[in-house]
Symmetry: C2
C-alpha cells in the first residue's frame, strides 16, 4: 500500500495557507500558478507548500507541458481520515459516558 505518510499530515494541515491550498484542490486540480493567483502569497510560497503537502502524501503532481498539475491524493486523504476516525472513536469511547456525568472522581 502506498498509504504512507512520510511527513505528518496533521502537521502539514496546521498551516492556514496549506489548508487553503487543499481547499482549492478539493474543487479541482490546479497548476501552481493558478493556485498562486487565488491565494494571497507568491508563487514560490505556494510551491514550497506543495512540496510539504506532497511529502505528507496529501497531494500528487503531474507534468503537463511546462505546467505542473497538482491534485489531492485520495489515498493520503483517506488514510488521514481513517487514522483520525480511529483516534476520535477511541478517544470519545472513554468519555461518552462522562458527557452527561457531572463528577465521580477518584480523590
Amino acid at each position: 500500500m502506498e498509504t504512507y505518510q512520510s511527513g505528518d499530515a496533521l502537521g502539514a494541515l496546521g498551516d492556514a495557507t496549506r489548508r487553503a491550498i487543499i481547499a482549492c484542490l478539493a474543487e479541482r486540480p490546479r497548476a501552481v500558478g493558478e493556485l498562486a493567483d487565488e491565494l494571497p502569497v507568491s508563487r514560490p510560497a505556494v510551491s514550497q507548500h506543495l512540496k510539504v503537502l506532497k511529502e505528507a502524501g496529501l497531494v500528487t503532481e503531474r507534468a503537463a507541458g511546462t505546467r505542473r498539475i497538482y491534485r489531492l491524493n485520495p489515498a493520503g486523504v483517506a488514510a488521514l481520515r481513517d487514522q483520525l476516525e480511529t483516534f476520535w472513536n477511541r478517544a470519545l469511547a472513554g468519555y461518552e459516558d462522562v458527557v452527561e456525568q457531572p463528577e465521580e472522581e477518584t480523590p
Copy 2:
C-alpha cells in the same frame, strides 16, 4: 450551542506537543502536573498548550482542590470530526473516479 471553536482546532493540532497532550487526555483526564510528568516539556509549557486547546474547544478544565483536571471535550472533538468528515467527503467525491485510474496522460 457550545460546539463553537474560538481558535481553529486544526491549527491547535498542528503542534506535536499538543497532539501528545490530546493523546494523553484520550486515555483519561489528568492534572497539569501529571501531563508535564509524561511529556518532555516543563509544566508551564503544558499549561500554555492547554490554554490553546481550551480556546480551540478541544479540552475542558475543572478545579479539584489545588489541582486542575483537564479532559477532552467530546463536543469539540466531535465537532472537528464532523467538520473534517464533511470536508473529506466533498473533497474525495470529486476525485473518487480518479482513485483507480493509473494514468491517461498526454505524453
